[in-house]
């Protein structure tokens, strides 16, 4: 018999906000040590009330718009009750009755063709903390408590593991491009609902829910394992399937049933009276839409038209800070290709030297544009542009002032260069001789000496050309 997989996904994504969802503690990336991003509110002390972080609403609505959802203009929070030491209030604030987004649609391109996945809803909620076990003792770390999450719930529209992975990759690309989430390991978690039925059947089979997987590879393996287990059970009656919650073990590659106690809880949901309903009025909605990143495909076409390579486009789209910066400097009149070079090569180089990545790039568009324009117009040479950029990234100096201070904008005439070159050749007889004897490297030494004498002023290409001429 041929079987069909029926899969629905619940994906939790940590939002990229400056602060937590209901207090002013730093968001997920702010913590360094256990419990260093914790306040009376997110550690459950009495007296503190939740205060809604508006940016969470904006990012959740933006995610909804990217997934073609209807955005609820009236949205409310509920409390979900359960006891666990990593949940300081013994309840999680989430959305049950009026989630922020409903009825979306994602189009996937898979090897089987195009597929539509319906999004049931997206809701906002707070994350829990985590437990750290050391020997016989357990410790709680509340850094992650109240970090904002969205949960994206699909309809059971997936028919293969491949589709699931394509979908997750698409979410990841979209959310990274939109500055909604890093979607890195640990900031994106998935629950998979899976059942198997004979092909052509309308009825659903017995459903398992595989909880809390963080890597796409595990998700794919878990689906394949679980599908086979279900098919064996149906085909060969190897076991009786029951509706249950399971976990996937990365080492054995198998799924295991979780204790019933953990899964059959009554969460006693009810409305949170501390949080007034959120009303997204027309003005706010327009603002959210105006700040929405262009759909990725459109954006990519735009970059392609500007002559940017596919590799570069991928890097730009993957990093929200890069695409925002690039769009801004181009808006300020910089040449797109030149700007891409400055950002992806020069900035990345300085960051790398400081042990950082391109996603950590933090430079104002004004400063970036000023440097690009000074170099492109020939006011300063590229080498000095690079020095200026380093100073901007490391010390946040003003580029124009820095250029002036260091005399990078001074002009030299050909006669001066000529004179300096003669002086250098006269002083470096050994190098000159080496060159005459066929040592190509010696020319580079002479060029370097000239540049040093000129204190970095002047167009290196012109100087190199003049030196070549002089050396014949």
């Amino acid at each position: 018999m041929k079987y069909e997989l029926v899969i629905g996904l619940e994906t939790h994504v940590e939002l990229n906000t400056e602060s937590k969802i209901f207090c002013s503690c730093g968001g997920h990336s702010a913590s360094q040590e256990p419990n260093d991003c914790v306040c009376p509110a997110c550690s459950g002390m009495p007296g503190m009330l939740p205060v809604m972080n508006k940016h969470v609403v904006e990012l959740a609505a933006t995610a909804g718009l990217l997934l073609n959802c209807e955005i609820s203009r009236y949205t409310t929070f509920d409390k979900k009750n359960y006891y666990y030491p990593d949940l300081p209030c013994a309840y999680q604030i989430t959305q049950l009755n009026h989630p922020i987004c409903t009825n979306g649609l994602v189009k996937l391109k898979t090897s089987e063709g195009e597929r539509d996945i319906r999004i049931k809803q997206i809701h906002m909620e707070e994350d829990a903390g985590k437990l750290v076990h050391v020997g016989k003792a357990s410790y709680v770390d509340f850094n992650r408590t109240s970090v904002p999450l969205i949960e994206i719930v699909t309809q059971p529209d997936f028919r293969s593991a491949e589709e699931v992975v394509v979908y997750l990759n698409k979410l990841k690309t979209m959310f990274r491009a939109g500055g909604i989430s890093d979607c890195e390991l640990g900031t994106m978690r998935c629950d998979v609902n899976i059942s198997v039925r004979p092909e052509g059947s309308e009825e659903y089979g017995v459903r398992s829910e595989i909880k809390n997987m963080t890597s796409f590879e595990s998700i794919e393996r878990a689906i394949r394992y679980e599908a086979q287990r279900h098919m064996d059970a149906i085909e060969f009656e190897t076991e009786v399937l029951v509706q249950e919650t399971r976990r996937f073990d990365d080492v054995t590659g198998k799924t295991y049933a979780m204790r019933n106690k953990e899964t059959e809880a009554d969460y006693r949901y009810f409305p949170d009276a501390n949080l007034m309903p959120i009303i997204i009025d027309d003005e706010w909605f327009e603002e959210i839409k105006a700040n929405m990143p262009a759909a990725i495909d459109e954006k990519a076409d735009e970059y392609r038209a500007a002559g940017i390579s596919e590799n570069e486009i991928e890097m730009i789209i993957d990093n929200h800070n890069v695409s925002t910066l690039l769009d801004a400097v181009v808006e300020m009149g910089c040449d797109p290709k030149s700007a891409v070079g400055w950002i992806l090569t020069e900035c990345a180089g300085v960051l790398r030297k400081n042990g950082k990545l391109i996603k950590d790039l933090d430079i104002s568009a004004e400063k970036m544009a000023a440097i690009i324009k000074m170099v492109d117009s020939g006011d300063i040479n590229r080498m000095n542009g690079r020095k200026t950029l380093t100073a901007v990234l490391e010390e946040d100096v003003d580029p124009a002032a820095y250029v002036k201070e260091n005399g990078f904008d001074k002009k030299v005439d050909t006669a001066t260069i000529e004179a300096i070159m003669d002086k250098v050749l006269a002083e470096n007889t050994q190098a000159l001789e080496d060159f005459r004897n066929g040592k190509v490297k010696a020319k580079q030494a002479l060029f370097g000496a000239c540049m040093r004498e000129l204190k970095g002023i002047g167009d290196p290409a012109v100087i190199r050309e003049m030196l070549d001429k002089k050396l014949g």
């Binding site: 009376p40 009750n81 006693r268």
Partner: protein, 393 residues
């Protein structure tokens, strides 16, 4: 000092009930479960008073989480012989000029009636709930005890007003006064509630009505037949919300922790068994039940709907009047029997106080009786009481 769970200053004139936080002083809401918990900040109302130069005298005893009649079930106080509230008594005896308390299930209003002082539970959203040991978020409110209506108005002017740390705090400007003209105003006596009181309280209501007439206020009796339903509804919502809010007290993070546990479940169970009193435990059981999957629609869900009905019905009733007069308690003193049946007694007594918690309207206890009014009509209540208080002098 007999009123205080923690005495803070001889220079103090304001007592603060142990349901509000004062930075550095133990905040336990009368419960063992919070033993040793010292907050890192003060309640917004306390901060505002201190900013105006008021000094806090101390934290007054309160019954565990304010769930009892008047404050008799505190882990930190001997059960009083004559059952009175500590904050109300401190004001009555002149030990404090005024006191702050959270009115969540009427304990503060009952205590005021029995001690013969004034207590205002303002309109929901008037005073910030930041820094209170919250139980029933949807109906609790910080209120003020003082010797008279003028004293209440004076403190309200300091503590009322928007606070961004509380999402339920209203963006509104306030000015409280107890000396507005009241002649020609109309007050109705709610018949169903007056009938639930004993002869002594009935006589108090009658005397108050006479005093009102002397102030030029018209008085007439009306029927409002959903008082019992309103009470049951508030008890459903209140127990559910309280059960949820006290579930954070689990022995893991702060406050009391039982010894001799073998695992996390035992830690929870032993701590909570030893940390809560029987009244809180009853409320937790009741509250868990009304929120459970199979009961939600019939209890909590329906309660939310009835809350709207009561609000509409009260608005309809009060449209023709300026205020409603009713008892705050069924009798002028509680006895040992009432305490032995505390859960039932509190439920019965709350019929007088629950409406104001349920629908958020202001209620003022003065002269041993209670006035209730329209939203934001505190000044009407305070001025009516103010006039009666002057008449009595």
């Amino acid at each position: 000092m007999k009123y205080y769970a923690e005495y803070l200053s001889d220079a103090g004139t304001i007592a603060v009930d142990d349901t509000l936080l004062v930075k550095g002083a133990q905040a336990a809401a009368g419960s063992r479960i919070l033993e040793g918990f010292k907050p890192l900040f003060s309640a917004e109302a306390v901060d505002r008073l201190e900013a105006e130069g008021y000094v806090i005298s101390g934290k007054t005893h309160v019954g565990e989480f304010g769930l009892d009649l008047v404050g008799e079930f505190s882990y930190y106080a001997e059960k009083a012989e004559n059952l009175k509230g500590a904050a109300a008594e401190a004001v009555a005896d002149g030990a404090a000029e005024a006191a702050l308390a959270v009115d969540m299930n009427g304990a503060a209003r009952r205590a005021a009636a029995i001690s013969g002082v004034d207590f205002l539970k303002p309109t929901y959203g008037t005073v910030s709930r930041h820094g209170i040991i919250s139980c029933a978020a949807s109906g609790e409110q910080v209120g003020v005890y003082a010797k008279d209506a003028e004293g209440v108005a004076k403190i309200m002017n300091v503590i009322a007003g928007h606070d961004e740390k509380d999402g339920t705090s209203l963006k509104k400007e306030y000015s409280f006064a107890a000396d507005e003209a009241v002649s020609g105003k109309r007050v109705c006596i709610i018949k169903e509630l007056a009938e639930k009181a004993d002869e002594e309280v009935k006589a108090k209501i009658a005397a108050y009505a006479e005093a009102l007439k002397k102030c030029g206020v018209e008085v007439e009796e009306v029927s409002f037949d959903i008082c019992d339903a309103a009470n049951t509804t508030w008890q459903i919502l209140m127990t559910a919300e309280t059960c949820n809010n006290v579930s954070r007290y689990d022995g893991v993070k702060f406050g009391y922790r039982a010894s001799g546990y073998k695992n996390i479940d035992e830690l929870y169970v032993k701590t909570r068994t030893e940390g809560f009193n029987f009244l809180t435990k009853s409320v937790i059981l009741y509250g868990s039940d009304v929120l459970s999957k199979h009961r939600y629609d019939d209890c909590y869900g329906k309660g939310l709907k009835v809350r709207r009905v009561v609000a509409d019905r009260f608005a309809e009733l009060i449209e023709k009047y300026d205020a409603a007069l009713m008892p705050a308690t069924s009798k002028m003193s509680y006895e040992a029997y009432d305490i032995s049946k505390a859960f039932e007694t509190v439920f019965k007594e709350s019929v007088f106080t629950s409406i104001a918690n349920l629908i958020g309207v202001p209620a003022l206890v003065s002269g041993g009786v209670q006035l209730m009014g329209k939203q934001f009509d505190e000044n009407v209540l305070l001025s009516i009481a103010g006039c009666v208080e002057k008449e009595g002098e």
